[in-house]
């Protein structure tokens, strides 16, 4: 009886871990099964889906439907849109606060960051930031939120108690993505046109390091850092280099680039599998996802998804 139940569970498609990928120009999400590395579902969304993130218990998926001017809330089991959140215009990317309630949303066309309570579905605050806000991050203790503005070329530091800016730091051109690291003591920001990743000390916003990249036979203009993610131990960072079609593998302690991995065209963002053994990159121009074996630092498979895949998020369903 127990054996039969196990077998039944194994056969169930809902059992495997998944990677969810937004397809910006197809208005869909592709769901990839981590075990089989195949697309198992394609789910319609609002217009121009970009950023996506799960609630902490993975019972809800939040989707930036940029051209629908909404953050959509989806039931990931049924794939149904439950309701929209008021998001401000043109939401591009967001980050969910550790309180699991506040969403910090970058409104790309409006030079505003919007804070929404996902339970009351109300806007708590709107914060004037620079032009074309994009990268969003929140510190592990929840006290600081960051938005980066692509045309103003700044990281804007938001005090989440007052929902106001307390600092603005210049970075290189077209900052795209931000992440806190080392227990919230560092802020990392990628600059697409500047071609760099800058590491800041969080306590006084001073610059700790600037990481540059070089790949033989690719002009430095085309090496454009976009999304990046830390390994589980935070010792390694994987940086998507856009039209250079490579990931850089960076040592997070020495800030040195250790490796480059060839992936698809115009690599954009990425997500780890829940066990952090595989890394899935969205390749905007080639319309596919490259699967990286994290331990071997090798690309092992390419999976076709929709047109212009943009964001990626993991949904653990096994063992939990």
């Amino acid at each position: 009886m127990r054996l039969a139940l196990c077998l039944a569970l194994l056969a169930s498609p809902a059992f495997a871990d998944e990677i969810w990928v937004t397809n910006e120009k197809d208005d869909t999400i592709s769901v990839i099964d981590v075990a089989t590395l195949e697309v198992t579902r394609t789910i319609p969304t609002g217009e121009r889906p970009r950023g996506l993130t799960f609630s902490h218990d993975f019972s809800r998926l939040y989707i930036c439907a940029s051209d629908s001017d909404a953050v959509q809330v989806m039931d990931p089991v049924s794939g149904e849109i439950l309701h929209d959140l008021p998001s401000g215009e043109d939401p591009e990317q967001f980050v969910l606060h550790p309180d699991d309630r506040r969403l910090y949303i970058a409104n790309e066309d409006d030079a505003i960051a919007t804070v929404v309570d996902v339970e009351t579905r109300r806007v708590i605050a709107q914060i004037d930031v620079g032009i074309e806000p994009e990268g969003m991050a929140v510190s592990p203790d929840g006290r600081i939120a960051i938005t980066t503005s692509e045309t103003t070329n700044m990281a804007h530091w938001i005090d989440t108690e007052t929902e106001t800016l307390f600092a603005n730091t210049l970075v290189d051109s077209r900052p795209r993505h931000a992440e806190f690291a080392q227990a919230g003591s560092q802020l990392w920001v990628s600059s697409e046109i500047g071609g760099t990743v800058t590491v800041f000390a969080v306590d006084d916003q001073r610059e700790l390091a600037k990481i540059r990249f070089a790949i033989p036979n690719i002009h430095r203009d085309r090496i454009q850092p976009v999304g990046f993610e830390f390994s589980a131990d935070e010792k390694t960072v994987f940086v998507a280099l856009g039209p250079a079609n490579h990931l850089a593998v960076v040592n997070a302690e020495t800030f040195e680039v250790e490796d480059y991995i060839l992936v698809g065209r115009r690599v954009w963002h990425m997500a780890f599998s829940p066990d952090r053994k595989l890394l899935f990159t969205t390749n905007g121009v080639s319309g596919d996802v490259t699967v990286i074996d994290v331990g071997r630092r090798e690309a092992i498979k390419t999976i076709k998804v929709g047109r212009f895949p943009w964001g990626a998020a993991a949904r653990p369903t096994s063992g939990g």
């Binding site: 307390f166 051109s173 203009d221």
Partner: protein, 388 residues
């Protein structure tokens, strides 16, 4: 961690009591009589260029707000026949930072004014190659691409497609002549063959009679892959399209066009710039608007990074390796230190889509492949930018 003291200090930084740096930019425009053209489809906007400068200033000001830098734009628009140099002197009395829209000879007169020595002028309209060559001026940088850059962009595309045989038709306006001359030089450089080289002179109403006149006009052309037109005012080539003796792809001023900017650009974040412009100006963004935007943004970027507003410091920064402008064309844009031209990718578009973004793969250059477009250091006759 947010310590109260650190927070207080940062707040003071974020909201300065008064502007620590004031950057004043003058827009200086010599209006010219537009040559009459047959079609009424697309009139030239009255604020062509100026609207781009206004958007650039709004972008600069937004950044400045976080840094305590204040930006202002004064527009001086001189009517046809007006005293441009008097307006220039008045502008220069207010600020040494000018963005200019004027014909080449007017720009040179401006750059040579005693009052303009030590000023920094950004050319946002004149595409003349001479301004980047023998006639260059040290105080005059160029945000708008030259005729040579546009011609080379097209030649690269024709070369990659192996459309090597060209029929060239030029109009009689000075701009048509100048673009055609740049095209001939470029075709020669890239080894393309000019199989016909004709001038279209108005002697009939082609709108009524395009079906009859164009086949006759083009019948004698030797076999060619593409018909390239130099018709910068948009006067005649639109009526030739699809009316040629042989089936002909049209390129140049009409058809497949090499141009600094077009509403057809959407990638590389361009959609955001397009929508910001549309919200401000109520119309599509054109190449002249883009050049003016880039000029004002370049000044703003230099002021942001240097904390300076004087012409010498900004010019030095703009011409240095440190400067780069994110111009929504997929790569950083920089200035050529030997003639002050803004390096930039050149789109090839038709009205409904981007066809290619040049430089194309395979056109190599020891410095940057962007320098495969337009006058390179060795071929530019510019000596005013002599470097230490």
């Amino acid at each position: 961690m947010l310590r109260p003291l650190a927070l207080l200090a940062s707040l003071a930084l974020a909201v300065p009591a008064s502007a620590e740096l004031a950057v004043r930019v003058a827009w200086l425009e010599q209006s010219v009589e537009q040559p009459p053209i047959l079609s009424n489809l697309d009139p030239v906007p009255g604020d062509l260029g100026l609207a781009g400068a206004r958007l650039g200033l709004a972008d600069d000001a937004k950044t400045g707000r976080f840094l305590g830098h204040a930006y202002a734009l004064d527009a001086h628009v001189v009517p046809p026949g007006g005293d441009f140099l008097a307006a220039a002197r008045a502008a220069l009395a207010q600020t040494p930072l000018l963005v200019a829209k004027a014909p080449a000879e007017t720009l040179l007169a401006l750059a040579d004014l005693p009052e303009a020595q030590g000023a920094l002028i950004l050319n946002a309209s004149a595409q003349d190659d001479a301004l980047r060559g023998e006639a260059c001026r040290a105080n005059l940088l160029h945000a708008i691409p030259s005729y040579a850059m546009r011609a080379d962009a097209l030649s690269q595309f024709l070369t990659v497609r192996r459309w090597t045989d060209v029929a060239l038709v030029e109009g009689t306006h000075p701009g048509d002549r100048a673009f055609a001359a740049a095209l001939r030089r470029s075709f020669h450089k890239f080894g393309l063959r000019v199989r016909a080289d004709e001038t279209w002179e108005w002697n009939a109403d082609i709108r009524r009679d395009a079906g009859r006149e164009t086949p006759l006009f083009t019948q004698g052309f030797a076999a060619h892959d593409v018909m390239v037109v130099a018709d910068e005012a948009g006067d005649f080539a639109r009526y030739m399209m699809f009316n040629t003796w042989r089936p002909a792809i049209m390129a140049g001023s009409e058809g497949l066009s090499p141009i600094a900017w077009s509403p057809a650009l959407e990638q590389w974040g361009a959609a955001q710039l397009q929508s910001r412009f549309e919200a401000l100006a109520g119309r599509d963004m054109r190449a002249e608007d883009y050049a003016a935007w880039a000029a004002v943004r370049a000044l703003g970027e230099a002021a942001t990074r240097t904390g300076a507003a004087d012409a010498d410091a900004l010019r030095a920064y703009l011409l240095s390796d440190a400067f780069e402008l994110a111009g929504f064309k997929g790569r950083p844009m920089t200035f050529r230190p030997w003639n002050g031209q803004l390096r930039q990718p050149m789109p090839l578009v038709h009205p409904r889509a981007l066809v290619a973004l040049t430089p194309l793969e395979g056109f190599l250059h020891p410095r940057s492949d962007l320098d495969t477009l337009g006058q390179d250091e060795g071929e530019s006759g510019c000596r005013a930018f002599a470097r230490d």
